[in-house]
Symmetry: C2
Subunit: 255 residues, 2 copies
Amino acid sequence: MTYCLGIITNTGLVIAADSRTNAGVDYISTYRKLFDFSKSGERVILLCTAGNLSITQGIVSELDRDLKTQEEINLHTLPSMYEVARYIGSKLRKIQELDEKWLKKDGIEPQCSMLLGGQIKGQDPALFLIYSQGNFIHATRETPFLQIGETKYGKPILDRTLSFNTHLEAAAKCALLSIDSTMKSNISVGPPINLVLYEKDTLEVKNWLKLRLGDPYLAEIRKLWEECLKQGFNNIPNINWQHRTSDTSEDILID
Amino acid sequence: MTYCLGIITNTGLVIAADSRTNAGVDYISTYRKLFDFSKSGERVILLCTAGNLSITQGIVSELDRDLKTQEEINLHTLPSMYEVARYIGSKLRKIQELDEKWLKKDGIEPQCSMLLGGQIKGQDPALFLIYSQGNFIHATRETPFLQIGETKYGKPILDRTLSFNTHLEAAAKCALLSIDSTMKSNISVGPPINLVLYEKDTLEVKNWLKLRLGDPYLAEIRKLWEECLKQGFNNIPNINWQHRTSDTSEDILID
């Protein structure tokens, strides 16, 4: 499984991804899922992938090849993040079309999804979720984060702490805790964690953190968060059972 | 959707359930999902249901009918919680067999699952998860909680705060926060919340809380928890980007 998360705020972007891949529970391996296609000073392009690994690796390989062979249309020539998302969606469709029939024949799902975050010089930063069908949505002020993969365990903390006006450093902290919560509850999501903080208009990825298994910093963050949860939990008064209703009617079938 | 949760500790049981049912997003209604079949002083039997409502209502109706008509085998005559679970599983299979063909014909899923918690005089309390196939597992010291329905949003808080030795009042508080987290992240889980705390060997359900929509107590608990999360979150130091690796190799395809 995978968990990737993108956050957009009024001052930039945060992108985070785990690195665990599994085919069943008995074949678990580590693959990077966060890729940096930026061109310093001109554009920042960050891509996270989830789903069928052969499909997503195929997409990344083609994006990279088009850059290296300087195709007319590539990640560094397209004029807007919207068109970059369209282009990546079309790569996804192409690779799926190539392989889908052969995968489905053996009951293998070709599904995948991606997060695309970045900024092109002179334009605003943008964050997209590209679906397995190649279509996509973008994050907005009202919904400033997008997730792919194993999204549920890490969503409560985002729902409770994030908004478009959250300080960028706090958003990065929040992303790390969201991934850590997911790793704690689902063993198929795991380190290394890649975490990127991009400050709007710098057009350069300066803050990239890679936390490996057993990293003392990750352990410290987890310990701090667990202590904070436990302490906060203890501070909440016990349940007031006086609220108990006399709802003990004979007929249990009618509430 | 539904979220039901059962916790067993060394001093008793906590059972909690929401009350929202939906058929698609455009037909949402309120149904009780936590049923009390206890016989005071002799046995405590609490049942939570999730899944296809016509199937689960059918099961509860038959359990109730067998009690009222004093069938030889009913919830008050079976000699152990294990056999109670078997009996409920057989009811589930019976109702599914009756309806399955007609439901599947129109693409409707007959799936359901149940939590069963209780104690029979002279025996230990027990907590079971009955699957849609009628088989079941029970909670243990190592895994003291079981969930059905929309289980993921509410699991991180359980993973971080619960053990078999957790104080029963704390377990109840934890259950309430777990349900509240789920309601916050998934609109198809909603109040009233039914929450029961059962103290081992009392053979009576004394603590039953029903929290309706807009209940000030529920709002207060949520506010306290959000404040505690926010404060704890603020206390965690910002990310130390010094951990940044020089992992900016030219070839992005090899990590």
